[in-house]
């Protein structure tokens, strides 16, 4: 992946096994978010392939990748600010009958029935994420942590097989963080695969296996928490004299 003359992600190759929580760590500017955006379809890689369940997905637009069951969240949460939490969740379910203009006129019963189903599901997910009491608030009135939960909730509404989480723990107070970690592991047990970028080492080391380490746009190593902790290259990468840059 290049921007002008700059290589942001170069020669990165890895596999994510099903039913894992794979962590992706690395210093600022390592190319993690770029990698993420390439997987999610925001960028088209200049070279290389991205496969999901054996299918090539590089070059597909984000909404097509979503429909394959691969869902993402954003580093800085992007809920629809003027819409309520409930509405944010209700937007998500793929291929809703009522999303077609005509079905609202010609199949109102089907639309209503489906709407009720989605509504129940949204309430359930909101409850699971502890958002039940703010369902009718516009998202712009929520705290940053709650907005992260809304994003996770949106992801769940899609019944995804894999979720890309971009720094779910950043800027979240400790009690909420614990809750987020809790939810992730619970969802993992339900069979959802995760790939998450995180700076909070505790969280990554406790939650993730395996862990990928990136630096300067390259993959440095892959291994479990133990291996990452003991690898001197990782420490080097974090402390090394590379210039800081925002990712």
């Amino acid at each position: 992946m290049r921007f002008g003359g700059l290589k942001a992600v170069d020669d990165v190759s890895f596999k994510i096994r099903e039913h894992t929580i794979t962590g992706l760590i690395g210093p600022n500017g390592a190319g993690k978010t770029t990698l993420f955006n390439s997987i999610a379809g925001v960028y088209t890689p200049t070279a290389g392939q991205i496969l999901f369940k054996g299918e090539r997905i590089d070059g597909l637009p984000p909404h097509r990748i979503f429909h394959k069951g691969l869902v993402r969240t954003f580093q800085i949460p992007r809920p629809f600010p003027e819409m309520t939490v409930l509405e944010n969740l209700l937007v998500v379910p793929p291929s809703q009958c009522g999303e077609s203009f005509w079905n609202n006129w010609f199949q109102p019963a089907r639309v209503r029935e489906e709407e009720e189903r989605n509504h129940d599901k949204a309430c359930e997910i909101a409850k699971f994420l502890n958002l039940g009491h703010v369902l009718d608030l516009p998202c712009k009135n929520l705290s940053g942590g709650q907005q992260k939960l809304v994003e996770i909730g949106r992801a769940l509404m899609a019944d995804p097989s894999m979720i890309l989480l971009d720094e779910p723990g950043a800027g979240v107070n400790p009690s909420l963080l614990a809750e987020i970690i809790d939810r992730i592991s619970e969802l993992h047990e339900r069979g959802i695969t995760f790939l998450l970028i995180e700076h909070n080492m505790d969280m990554v080391l406790n939650l993730c296996d395996p862990i990928l380490v990136m630096a300067n746009g390259r993959l440095l190593m892959e291994g479990d928490a133990q291996a990452v902790r003991s690898d001197p290259r990782v420490l080097d990468a974090y402390l090394g004299g590379e210039p800081e840059a925002t990712s």
């Binding site: 999610a40 925001v42 909404h63 979503f66 429909h67 992007r78 600010p81 009522g98 709407e115 009135n141």
Partner: protein, 321 residues
């Protein structure tokens, strides 16, 4: 007293026609964030299609199809929809401001066609023998106008009801999601293009419908009517009434149209005689100012958007990567 009633009926008919346009624009701008500054172009397509199809034969231009009112009305809406597709398909895929540029172009182009394609539009002389539906059954002018008002209010309510219903459906929800944050919408699987196109076409069809009704009511259309100032009028109506709010769109139309028809007298009363010629300019300056100030201080219009939520400061927007 009958005079006042008669005038109010007349006023309400025109205000309703503007309301239809303003509702169409509200779907495009208020709910989808599409910046259409060629409203007058779609209005003109509707008006001319109706006039050409519904009129008896006339010298100098194509016509004489004598279509029944309803058929011509529907044809006008279809024609406007097609024009909207032609403008929308190349531009709605691209960045938002391309639509603005394209719509200002289509507005200008349609005005040029209206003024210059004599065989089609009658050129500068316009089309002057447009029939009114059922006018033969009314002996008094006021009686007919009352009938027309009832008809147009029914159409307006129908449009309002349909819009309210559709914007509160899952379809409308996606529209709003795209307006709020296109990237996030795309990350949850909603492709902006197709929804934007639908919204754009439906909104434009309402403008075309307004044009057809105008042509039928006034019985005469000519290129002088389709000046850019009409687009600004409709924008002022929506912004004043509150974009993102269908009731606001209608309220704004009534208020601004009342102001507009009286502003001539107001301008005459306020401005010294040496500046009177520039009254039109002052009016537009006022619109420009209102547009900018509302954007700066009340981005969602005076009535606010659909939900009367507590305003917790400016809408927080999130910067991208």
């Amino acid at each position: 007293m009958t005079g006042i009633v008669s005038y109010l009926v007349f006023f309400s008919i025109l205000a309703s026609i503007y309301s239809l346009m303003s509702l169409g624009l509200n779907l495009q701008w208020g709910y989808t964030g599409l910046f259409n500054i060629g409203v007058v172009g779609f209005f003109a397509v509707g008006a001319y299609t109706f006039a050409i199809l519904a009129s008896p034969p006339a010298a100098g231009h194509i016509g004489g199809f004598n279509w029944p009112f309803l058929a011509a009305l529907i044809a006008a809406m279809i024609a406007t929809g097609i024009v909207a597709l032609i403008v929308g398909i190349p531009t709605l895929r691209l960045r938002e401001d391309y639509l603005a540029i394209a719509t200002i172009g289509i507005g200008a182009t349609i005005q040029l066609i209206a003024n210059n394609m004599n065989w089609l539009t009658g050129g500068p002389n316009g089309i002057y023998n447009i029939p009114q539906p059922l006018s033969a059954y009314f002996s008094s002018n006021l009686g007919y106008n009352v009938f027309f008002l009832v008809m147009i209010v029914v159409i307006l309510l129908l449009a309002y009801w349909s819009l309210e219903r559709i914007v509160h459906s899952p379809w409308g929800r996606v529209l709003m999601a795209i307006r709020e944050d296109e990237t996030a919408a795309s990350s949850v699987g909603k492709s902006g293009f197709s929804y934007r196109l639908q919204s754009f076409v439906i909104g434009s069809i309402l403008m075309g419908l307004a044009g057809a009704l105008y042509a039928s009511f006034i019985k005469y259309i000519s290129p002088t009517l389709f000046m850019p100032v009409l687009t600004f009028q409709v924008w002022a109506m929506l912004i004043v009434g509150g974009s993102g709010n269908n009731r606001g769109a209608i309220l704004g139309s009534v208020l601004v149209w009342a102001l507009w028809t009286m502003s001539g007298s107001v301008v005459q009363a306020i401005l010294p005689s040496t500046l009177q010629v520039k009254g039109g300019a002052f009016q537009i300056i006022l619109i420009g100012l209102v547009l900018m100030l509302v954007l700066l201080f009340r981005p969602r219009g005076i009535m606010g958007s659909r939900k009367a939520v507590v305003f917790a400061g400016e809408s927080k927007t999130v910067s991208g990567e």
